[in-house]
């Protein structure tokens, strides 16, 4: 798995914090929510990195901070050798984008979770897909319609539908429009933020297959965010498992699924149903007890110890660092040698 070429994307100790004001006006308490707490990961050119974890673990925020849609509170994001997290400017009482970040949009794009929220309801499909082309003056008026129709064909939609509005499409078709929009600028990196979680199971497979095919045909580098391993394992080369803002395990996709080391990953793997009723019934169950801890009030020591089935005394005190246990396999757990 060694690769001498520098990675397309390097994320170093990324931290994203939000100020949360509890209700109560002047008496409300101002607290800090650490959504992403020191994520360290890199994505090589042409690779798909899966990012899994339960709701609220900070995986979407990680994706947005990587694309600088959210300003990182600390840490570094190096895209193609350039430290893009430094490209924010403070002006008029808020953080705003430098023009270099705007120019960078051509090279990194996002596929959003809910296509009915991420497509402007007042725009036709043609206007939606022409928007990125217009932003970067990539095609003149007459050329643009052709480009838009070509994009629709790439994602498997009828190019005659360009006059339609998002609400006239099904959920799966809308997500295809979202994918076409992300592809319009021919980016190097695509962050797909749970692109299938709002869809029917039968449609999920279609979208995952579409993404896998596009990834191969167009040589995309992708960060695929999802909350279930079953979706991610099909498209990913490597998988990073996130828990409470941190990566707890990172390895090749098949290793994560066949030989998980972290107890949290083991629980995630055990949660994937096997499509064979006899084996499914015989399979050992590993169900986590309790709620995930709140990122507003994270537990001391290992953030997973409150629910960990194999916790020890020192897990309550020390937080385990992410360390390499085998070639290309990193785990953050005291109990793994």
């Amino acid at each position: 798995m060694s690769d001498d070429a520098p990675p397309l994307l390097e994320v170093r100790d990324l931290v994203v914090r939000f100020d949360v004001v509890t209700p109560g006006g002047p008496w409300g308490r101002r607290r800090t929510l650490t959504a992403v707490d020191g994520v360290h990961v890199s994505v090589r050119r042409g690779e798909t990195l899966g990012l899994v974890g339960e709701s609220g673990c900070g995986k979407s925020t990680t994706g947005r901070a990587v694309l600088q849609l959210e300003k990182p509170s600390a840490g570094e994001v190096i895209f193609d050798g350039r430290p893009i997290h430094e490209w924010w400017v403070q002006r008029w009482g808020g953080w705003r984008w430098d023009h270099r970040l705007r120019d960078l949009r051509r090279r990194m794009q996002m596929i959003f979770q809910d296509p009915s929220a991420s497509l402007d309801p007042r725009m036709t499909v043609e206007a939606i897909l022409a928007e990125p082309l217009r932003n970067f003056a990539l095609a003149s008026g007459s050329e643009r319609r052709g480009r838009v129709q070509r994009l629709l064909e790439i994602v498997g939609l009828d190019p005659r539908f360009i006059r339609r509005y998002p609400h006239q499409f099904s959920g799966g078709q809308r997500q295809r429009i979202g994918i076409a929009r992300a592809l319009a600028l021919e980016p190097d990196l695509i962050v797909a933020d749970e692109p299938t979680s709002g869809l029917d199971v039968s449609i999920q497979a279609q979208i995952v297959n579409l993404l896998g095919r596009l990834q191969q045909e167009l040589g995309l580098t992708m960060m695929f965010i999802a909350h279930d391993l079953a979706t991610v394992r099909h498209v990913s080369d490597r998988i990073a498992v996130m828990h409470l803002g941190r990566i707890v395990e990172l390895a090749a996709a098949d290793r994560i699924v066949t030989a998980p080391l972290h107890p949290y990953t083991q629980a995630l793997v055990a949660a994937v149903p096997v499509p064979d009723p006899i084996r499914e019934r015989a399979r050992p169950r590993l169900v986590l007890a309790g709620e995930p801890p709140s990122p507003l009030d994270p537990p001391a020591g290992c953030p997973f110890h409150t629910r960990c089935p194999v916790r020890e005394e020192r897990c309550r005190r020390e937080s385990p660092p992410l360390r390499t246990v085998a070639a290309g396999h990193e785990v953050a757990c005291h109990l793994v040698d």
Binding site: E131, L157, R160, R163, Y165, R213
Partner: protein, 301 residues
């Protein structure tokens, strides 16, 4: 993956028409009988006010300013359906011409107000932070000043003319629209499609013009329709005070003002301009309500 092949006949394919949110709103509006009746009434009255004075001048030979001191004031008759006023001027022509002035002032002032207010509110809200705070405090200060007082000062300083009346009304009337739009944009800019637009590299002015304003245009149209009657009333009030339209030109406000002084003797001089005003205001309000319901899809079952 089954990817449908490219549309066989290349560029000559017929495009499938979409039903826009506008088409849906239009469909809902058409189902609202009161709103449709109001729209028809407004159109009919507007046509009458536009063409009426000219037709009457061509047929009977008197316009809104031709006096006949010997034949006034007379009650309604076949020759003068609305009667004549103190100077023997035909009241029907004067009411229609006055309605034309009132409608023009109302529409133009409301249009000025809606345009300024929408741009101002959207920019303030999307920029956020310090810009928003400064811009909206300016609105608060203007809002705190007595509205009519401001218009009266403007009209007194700048002189009395039709153009100035609606400019003054519009320049003060945008405050409400700005607040409405700012509130809408505040919730709109947290929606994911705005984040998506930013991630596509859409510059801020395009986000305001192409995403935010089209999505707030519903509430703006409603505010606009409901502010036309209020603008007409303001103009009437100004004319009533003698600051608006100057005699001998008629406006509904000036006519009502004249009529109110003699309503016990020459009732028709108040009833006809007052009646037209009332009908216009009702119709505009009903249409505004209808538009609000039609443009807000959440209300649809």
């Amino acid at each position: 993956m089954n990817v449908p092949a490219a549309s066989g006949d290349g560029g000559a394919t017929t495009l499938v028409a979409g039903s826009s949110l506008w088409a849906d709103a239009w469909r809902r509006l058409r189902r609202n009988r009161l709103a449709v009746a109001s729209a028809v009434t407004i159109l009919a009255l507007a046509c009458a006010c536009l063409a009426g004075p000219w037709l009457i001048a061509a047929t009977w030979g008197h316009d809104e300013q031709s006096q006949d001191l010997a034949s006034g004031p007379r009650p309604p008759s076949w020759e003068h359906p609305f009667g004549t006023d103190f100077y023997g001027r035909d009241l029907l022509v004067r009411v229609l011409a006055g309605g034309r002035v009132s409608l023009t002032v109302g529409l133009l002032a409301a249009l000025v107000a809606a345009t300024i207010g929408t741009l101002y509110g959207a920019v303030a809200s999307y920029a956020g932070g310090l810009i928003d705070a400064v811009m909206m405090r300016a609105v608060d200060v203007l809002y705190a000043l007595p509205y009519m007082f401001l218009v009266i000062i403007l009209v007194t300083i700048l002189g009395k003319s039709l153009l100035l009346v609606f400019l003054a009304l519009g320049a003060v009337g945008w405050l409400l629209t700005a607040r409405v739009v700012r509130g809408q944009v505040l919730s709109l800019k947290e929606r994911e499609f705005i984040l998506a637009a930013r991630s596509l590299g859409t510059p801020a002015h395009d986000i305001v013009l192409r995403h935010l304003i089209p999505n707030v245009i519903g509430p703006v149209i409603v505010t606009f329709t409901l502010s036309v009657p209020s603008m007409i009333l303001q103009e009437a009030f100004l004319s009533f005070l003698g600051l608006g339209i100057q005699a001998p030109r008629p406006s509904l406000g000036a006519l009502i003002s004249d009529g109110a002084g003699q309503m016990l003797v020459f009732w028709w001089t108040l009833v006809f301009p007052g009646g037209l005003m009332a009908v216009l205001l009702f119709a505009l309000n009903f249409l505004g309500d209808g538009l609000r319901d039609a443009l807000d899809p959440r209300l649809e079952r």
